[in-house]
């Protein structure tokens, strides 16, 4: 099965790329430049493609992002510190982002005659992102079977959809994912900040998986406080 992996350069999607390379035929990595302030993650996607010896395509959807304002990932709102609690995460939502990126990825897969598109959506995102839930993934697959009927038969592969980020870390170890070569921090500074929602979630995932976290954080200890504040 020739599989195109949507890869942001983050821990989840780089782990997914290594998993697909180990278990199937990895046909390439696809990234999106949507004006994210943590654009350096794209360098980590490029490094992953070079490591796995496949093509890395970056699709510029900035023009779309400008039409979808109101998200801290792309505009001038401050990225909130703290755990991925509902209030702080709402501002990081770009409306319909996953549906848009997946639809484009299916178009690319069709033109490259790939058999599947892989996405690293995971269980930890369910409570706030509806477009990461199993119901969405199933409905998206059904929609695409209709959209490409008679032209292409492309599967949506989402192996992490029912597991946690800690489980992804465990899976990543199995497939020799070099975690230090992945980027999560929404602030996009020189080092991982250790304080934003995604840094806290990353740090916690390594802790729960009982795997040494090789990430270089500015604030390596804030995550415990953030999780305490989130009442967990």
């Amino acid at each position: 099965m020739k599989t195109l992996v949507i890869c942001s350069g983050g821990l989840d999607s780089v782990s997914l790329a290594h998993k697909v390379a180990a278990e199937q035929e990895l046909s390439g990595l696809l990234s999106f430049d949507y004006g994210q302030r943590h654009k350096k993650e794209l360098d980590f996607a490029a490094a992953c493609a070079a490591r796995l010896k496949v093509l890395h395509q970056v699709i510029d959807i900035n023009a779309i992002g400008r039409s979808l304002s109101g998200s801290a990932l792309t505009d001038d709102l401050d990225v909130p510190d703290g755990h991925y609690a509902e209030e702080t995460m709402r501002v990081t939502v770009v409306p319909n982002r996953n549906a848009i990126m997946l639809a484009i990825a299916f178009g690319v897969a069709a033109s490259q005659k790939a058999d599947a598109v892989a996405t690293a959506v995971h269980g930890g995102d369910h409570f706030i992102y509806p477009d990461c839930r199993p119901g969405f993934i199933d409905a998206f697959q059904t929609m695409q079977l209709h959209a490409l009927e008679g032209y292409a038969d492309i599967r949506l592969y989402a192996p992490y959809v029912n597991i946690s980020k800690a489980d992804i870390v465990t899976d990543g170890v199995k497939h020799h994912t070099p975690f230090a070569e992945t980027w999560s921090c929404y602030k996009g500074g020189e080092r991982h900040c250790g304080r934003c929602g995604t840094c806290v979630e990353r740090r916690e995932a390594f802790h729960l998986a009982e795997i040494e976290d090789p990430t270089d954080y500015e604030d390596r200890e804030y995550w415990r406080e953030a999780i305490r504040n989130a009442g967990r």
Copy 2:
């Protein structure tokens, strides 16, 4: 119901904009620049928005189009003459184009707090474009209900999905659509060529609807021969 209309500037979508303006609340027109060679259609969408006094947004998806090669609408293949027969139409298919544009439109509608997205897909396109069929429209709506659950409840309005282009002409007359102010020709010349698949289909639709066709064609009579050749 505040409805965002996807409008290419063609006969179908301009008729749809006039229908929505008459029957609901038209919130704006959305067009896509995907590097189509008949880009002048976008001027007709802009004119429609000005006429109906709503905002016209053009989203540049050229970067996506470049990743989805193989279509005569965007690259250097010749646009075939003749009726919309299967062989000639296959080359005009951009893989997954409708799913991509609709997903973007739903993102725009969510950010603008619109209640619906309207698309002018119609029955005449079913036999070759799977992403214009009722099954696709229903599956797309279901997918979007999942994708935006808890954030927005946006309907997909496709009133032409089971009717012919001739029926759209009839409906357009009812809502005073100025047909001369719409563009169909894939060749994008000074006048409508009258020979490409979409010109032939347009000419035939007016004939079947028994409405005078106000379009200025270079070759006004070729359509009969094209339909005879298509064995209809």
